[in-house]
């Protein structure tokens, strides 16, 4: 039993516990943030040293492969950025304690486990580990909206977990196994009754769909996005989505590749859901006046694009999903970072209050515009390359109709993203006061903006990594 293989997850969990302990003795809570951010170097280093491993441990419960390590890096990056841009927001949270940091780290631990699970029960455990801290974090503001969002998230999350568990139980009942690779063998051998199997697959899609924010399991998104503290909104918007896609990708690619009819069935189901998801997300986003809700619906729409890669069920589909997730993470976190700085000053999340922001805070407005342009998928940004890549996976898999729906949706999205840009650059500012921001927040902004541009012009570095982030056979 080689514990070294899960050292990134273990060290991350240990870091969370250390923060809780330190919290008891430290008066100056800011130090906890610094320790958490610096402490991320440890799991990062472990993950780096593991790159290239292709093994399973705990008799198949966890897999260490390119895929899980890539997502490990992604989640560590998300946690790091979240800690950076949280600094400007934390003064607004009443009675702040170290658990804010500890909960983020614990949830990240859950996410990194989730990407590495190779077996149904560990999937469920990792999912709960990642979700429970989030329920608490969403309600952290302790005001009416935040509490409501927390309760809503908790209740709907519990229903999703139950659905997922039901699906898993059906899978176990039909195949007698919980390991993904052995389920795959049992299914390939044939002789399994169709209706129950299909029901199991659909229930799994529903359970994971909650995490991915896919329609019709998206009901929690707008309220949670609006009510949660903005840094947590940002964290959920990318972390939860990435984790959802990581786990569904592994389960469906690894376990449900055979028999052919099953493969075709779930591929088509996800393609149809994808079309509905992106269309609903984009169309409803048009009418949003609150920028956090707008990004919530944009997150739903982006889940739709991501599902194109999932439905493609191919190597290019897998690397497309990975590339898209990174591009989406950078752009979305960049946008939210700018929003945190701006809303700290103007104390509003309404788009109309962003008028003339280009005059008041040129750099912030420019980076927010850049991130929104990337979300639209216009070059030279990472979002453009991500769309090209994920749609090419769709074309390759023969989903031309889905790709056409996807590109038309991109056009719709241009309308509401550019509306924000328009308000910032065209309208008159309501005051001439600048927008202050801390060094940490500016660092987060710079990292995301650079990433968006860099992967937009030179995508091959990331593409190469994405293509090497393979699943264990």
């Amino acid at each position: 039993m080689n514990w070294y293989l899960i050292s990134p997850q273990l060290s991350l969990g240990a870091l969370a516990l250390i923060i809780v302990l330190l919290d008891l003795f430290l008066k100056e809570k800011r130090i906890l943030g610094i320790v958490s951010a610096a402490g991320l170097a440890l799991p990062f280093g472990f993950a780096l040293s593991l790159w290239g491993h292709q093994e399973t441990i705990l008799s198949g419960m966890l897999a260490v492969d390119g895929f899980s390590l890539f997502f490990c890096f992604l989640f560590l990056g998300i946690a790091f950025l979240t800690l950076l841009y949280s600094t400007d927001y934390l003064p607004r949270i009443p009675r702040l304690h170290g658990e804010y940091y500890a909960l983020i780290l614990l949830s990240t631990t859950g996410f990194t486990f989730l990407a590495a699970t190779g077996e149904l029960i560990s999937i469920y455990l990792a999912l709960e580990l990642s979700s429970l801290p989030l329920y608490a974090l969403v309600a952290f503001l302790k005001d009416e909206k935040s509490t409501e969002a927390g309760i809503k998230y908790l209740l709907l999350g519990a229903i999703a977990s139950a659905t997922l568990l039901y699906g898993m139980a059906l899978m176990f009942g039909l195949t007698g196994r919980t390991e993904l690779s052995e389920i795959a063998q049992a299914l390939a051998a044939g002789g399994i009754r169709e209706p129950a199997l299909l029901l199991g697959v659909v229930l799994l899609i529903a359970g994971f769909g909650f995490k991915m924010a896919a329609v019709p399991f998206h009901g929690w998104v707008p309220d949670v996005y609006e009510g949660a503290p903005t840094p947590i909104t940002a964290y959920i918007s990318v972390g939860s989505k990435a984790a959802g896609f990581a786990v569904i990708l592994r389960v469906f690619y690894q376990a449900f590749g055979q028999p052919a009819w099953l493969h075709a069935d779930w591929s088509l189901t996800i393609a149809v859901l994808s079309a509905i998801t992106m269309t609903l997300g984009n169309v409803v986003a048009i009418w949003q006046g609150n920028i956090k809700r707008l990004l919530g619906y944009s997150g739903i729409a982006n889940a739709g694009y991501l599902m194109v890669g999932l439905a493609a069920a191919s190597n290019i589909g897998r690397s497309g999903v990975i590339f898209f997730l990174v591009a989406y993470t950078l752009a979305n976190l960049g946008a939210f970072t700018a929003i945190i700085a701006i809303s700290n000053k103007i104390e509003s999340d309404l788009i109309e209050d962003y008028s003339g922001m280009a005059r008041r805070a040129p750099a912030l407005a420019l980076i927010l515009a850049l991130c929104l342009i990337s979300l639209t998928g216009i070059p030279p940004t990472a979002g453009f390359m991500a769309k090209v890549y994920i749609f090419s996976a769709g074309i390759q898999a023969g989903f031309l109709w889905l790709v056409i729906i996807g590109v038309v949706n991109s056009v719709i999205s241009a309308y509401y993203y550019l509306r924000v840009v328009k308000v910032m650059f065209l309208s008159q500012p309501s005051s001439e006061e600048g927008v202050p921001s801390s060094g940490a927040l500016r660092a987060a902004l710079a990292i995301t903006a650079l990433g968006v541009l860099l992967f937009g012009v030179f995508p091959y570095v990331l593409l190469h990594l994405a293509e090497n982030a393979t699943l264990l056979p």
Partner: protein
Amino acid sequence: MEDYHLLSVVIFLPILGIGWVLLARSEREIKLGAAAFTALNLALSLALFCLFDRSAPGLQLVEKASWIPAINAEYFLGVDGISMLMVLLTSFLSFLAVLVSWTEIHFRAREYFAWLLLLETSILGVFCAQDLLLFFLFWEIEMIPMYFLISIWGTPPPLGRKEYSAIKYVIYTFTGSAMMLAGILLAYFYTGTWSMVELVDKAPALSIGLRTLIFFLIFFCFAVKLPMFPLHTWLPDAHTDAPTAGSVMLAGALIKMGGYGMIREVGIFPEVAKAYAFMLVIFALINTLYGAAVTLRQTDLKRLIAYSSISHMGYVLLGIFALAPLSLTGATLQMFSHGLITGMLFALVGLLYHKAHERRIPLLGGLARQMPLLAVAFSIAGLASLGLPTTSGFVAEFITFWGSFTSPIFPAIKICTIIAMICMVITAGYMLWVIERVFYREPKPEYDRTPDLGPLELAMSTLFIVGIMLIGVYPRVLTDVINPSVMSLAKALGL
């Protein structure tokens, strides 16, 4: 010459200019910098044009480097005769667009010139890129600067609706390019290449149904840009509400990307082009006649020129889909010539509006008395637009019509050409009428203090006129460059 990466220099020089503009300390430095960089680019393009090997049919100044190895996309640049012409046109118009903005733009000048320079880079990139993904990348970049140029510096209400026009422009363009993306992805997955050169060889292996699908997905995008009826409705709004330099670039260079793209498509899918030539020629006729008819009814001077562009782009469409070597030469010439003429008309209308603060035709009149130089310049451009001999307009239209009339593509092409020629009469009608209404008739006292063209504006107009006349008198400067490319295109078409 290929070792010097001259095309990359031409494309990315304006980006360096953006660096200068962002760091400059005063408005004067910003403008001088923008002018210097665009002038340098023009000089470089002229040098490339002179050095261009007029006997070689293939690509020249080729640059190739690996860009995204995972999907075989390359940084692949090169120009043939047709792209060379478009590069020259773009850098010429960009330089003049900076000059036109000299007195007009004081508001947020730094951003303005930065967007203008980015626009130049993206258009030049479109004309030089030989890799479809790179082509698409430059194609999409162009949208953002244009959006800002129209929405910030455009005509505000009550005369214009700048924000509406800007977002309309984006939605149309983006819809078009979304379809193109689907098309080029299909092409890539069935041939395994993004290279336009390789596609010429590989595309015929695809089934005819698939080729037709790809052709029309991509064609939709070019048809929006050209614009082809009924996808033209963004054009009058965008052209009318854009700042002067924006209109010059839109009418002069941007919509040429549509025609250029169609010519490239014809080379890649000759069978599809032939099969649908009749239908597309009919669309060309609607474009010319409908555009001209609507132009007659316009009361806003800028909108009038915008609609005349739709009509003139119909000639380009006719020339391309008559699918004869001569008509293709004519279409290319027409694109170049229309770029100069309409660029000049928009520049002059912009100056007139800036000086007289009015562009509604019924409220103007007799301006030849107060602004004689502008009146002369406008008349020359107007006459060129209606195709007076010795101007480039005549040469281009004559070659286009002659080419399409003698084209063997389908029997009815002769009748179609004759119908299109009727449009020349309407063009003469609205042009002469507008010149009469704006510059002649009784002078109005409210324009008595309106200044005439200044030295800079005079120099600018002279540059335009020299270009228009030079091509009109000696079209071989351009046709020599176009011919080898058109001939190789004709070979692909089996003519």
